[in-house]
């Protein structure tokens, strides 16, 4: 009960803050009429954001794996290809990459679909981070297990397939759910390359109606609806995993 009261009190404080900001800074009253008229465009944008994020994440899981194995390759050229990719991604804002990808790389390769170029850009971007998630999880597998696998004659593929991946899958789930939330948020930057995603749809209505605050409100709520479940999922998975780890240590 105390927990619930504290939660709603905290929520109330935020509501007061936003009410103060909106009454002090806004001249007009809040009116969602125009947004209701354009709800289909907005809903389509929201669905595009969800789809583009899901597609990007699936692609990013694969990109991350390729980058990880390139990094671990005996062929140095693969190691450097992977490292250079990661360095560029880690050191450049996504918005810059998105613009370059759409206006230059997309054009050079004649890719017209904004959806696919957006999804691929996000996948290559998020994939760099996911490669590091894989790396951390795989390196947590004790050297003894690799040696045991080698001793008993498991091939490299069999070692990953039957020994490494089944163990790392649980430990990578929380950071992956976190990455999914980040992907959804990052997809907003694709508005800069005119992808018809959620933020772009809202901005279109904003430019027609000049009702900016309402648009930002819808955008905030729209993203939170997608990301809050993921944030809760991350916490739940971490709790479960911590319990598992502690339980195993106790035993």
């Amino acid at each position: 009960m105390r927990k619930i009261i504290s939660f709603f009190s905290a929520l109330g404080l935020y509501a007061i803050f936003f009410w103060f900001v909106s009454t002090s800074a806004l001249e007009k009253t809040i009116d969602f009429t125009i947004y209701k008229q354009y709800y289909r465009v907005i809903l389509n944008g929201w669905i595009t954001t969800l789809t583009i994020s899901a597609v990007s994440l699936v692609l990013a899981l694969f990109v991350g794996l390729v980058l990880y194995f390139m990094r671990e390759s005996k062929l140095k050229i693969f190691v450097y290809l992977s490292e250079i990719h990661k360095t560029i991604i880690f050191g450049t804002p996504l918005v810059v990459i998105a613009i370059i990808a759409y206006y230059y790389i997309g054009n050079a390769f004649n890719i017209d679909s904004k959806f696919w170029i957006g999804a691929l850009t996000l996948a290559l971007y998020i994939g760099a981070y996911i490669a590091d998630i894989y790396k951390g999880a795989i390196e947590s597998i004790h050297i003894n297990q690799w040696q045991t696998a080698k001793m008993f004659g498991f091939t490299r593929y069999q070692t990953y397939r039957y020994i490494v991946f089944p163990q790392v899958i649980t430990s990578i789930l929380p950071p992956l759910a976190g990455q999914f939330a980040m992907t959804i948020k990052s997809s907003a930057l694709l508005a800069y390359m005119s992808t018809d995603e959620f933020l772009n749809a809202i901005q279109t209505v904003q430019s027609i109606s000049f009702r900016y605050p309402e648009g930002f409100l819808i955008v905030t709520v729209g993203y939170l609806v997608l990301t809050i479940p993921l944030i809760l999922l991350v916490r739940m998975l971490e709790k479960k995993l911590n319990y598992k780890v502690n339980h195993e240590i106790e035993n």
Binding site: Q145, K150, M151, F152, G153, F154, Q158, Q167
Partner: protein, 240 residues
């Protein structure tokens, strides 16, 4: 087993871990490698297993020359029991054993299951077969590790200090399990600190110190050590 080791050298960070070892054994069943920690006995065992490469020299096991980088097929015929059992933590005891047989040796589960169940029964592990390694005692886990090595029907089993992380009760339990290998006439090489056990089961004892073989022979060498180093070692380990 037939074992030939010729002028074996292994250097690590400018230190000779194995310093020009030579040894020849014919038709022996149990070889015990003894010596202080850091004497090179576990390293030698790993070289024999094909798990680690050496700098120079030659190891020939039952007529096969061991070459680390290309010896996956040789390793498949060698059973290995690690110091800390090294069972895969995400699999049950039964699955740990079946995984090797099914995936590496290409055997059918239905075909090998009765044999594996019988081995688990023999080593007193039947009731624990569906438990994960962290749910059983260190002694039970080490016995399961012996079953895993035995299940592949190896030409030779290598045991690397299988009792060194166990308390005396569990040590006793595991040593009894190893005696089963002796009774079943299975060839094995064991690295151990259990001198009494080595004397009882081994037909050859090799004593190592500072990367060298100082003395080797029948268990009698433990009664009448010729070298001062073995004498000093025995005085220390048998002083309490």
């Amino acid at each position: 087993m037939k074992l030939r080791i010729d002028r074996l050298i292994k250097t690590y960070e400018n230190k000779r871990i194995l310093d020009d070892l030579t040894l020849a054994l014919d038709d022996k069943q149990v070889l015990a490698l003894i010596g202080a920690s850091g004497s090179g006995k576990s390293t030698l065992l790993r070289m024999i297993s094909g798990l680690e490469a050496f700098d120079s020299g030659q190891i020939v096991v039952n007529g096969h020359e061991v070459v680390e980088s290309e010896d996956a097929d040789y390793r498949k015929r060698i059973g290995f029991v690690f110091q800390d059992h090294n069972l895969f933590p995400h699999l049950s005891i039964l699955e740990n054993i079946l995984l090797v047989l099914e995936k590496v040796h290409g055997r059918m589960r239905s075909e090998v299951l009765p044999e594996v169940e019988a081995l688990l029964e023999q080593f007193g592990l039947s009731e624990h077969r569906h438990k994960k390694p962290h749910q059983i005692s260190g002694g039970q886990a080490q016995r399961a590790s012996i079953v895993r090595a035995l299940a592949i029907k190896p030409d030779l089993i290598l045991l690397d200090e299988p009792t060194s992380s166990l308390d005396p009760i569990l040590t006793h339990e595991v040593l009894n399990a190893i005696k089963v290998l002796v009774e079943a006439s299975i060839d094995f090489i064991i690295v151990t600190h259990e001198i009494g056990f080595a004397r009882e089961v081994a037909d050859t004892i090799v004593f190592m110190d500072d990367g060298k073989i100082i003395e080797h022979g029948t268990p009698e060498i433990l009664e009448t050590p010729q070298s001062p180093l073995l004498k000093a070692f025995l005085d220390k380990v048998l002083s309490f």
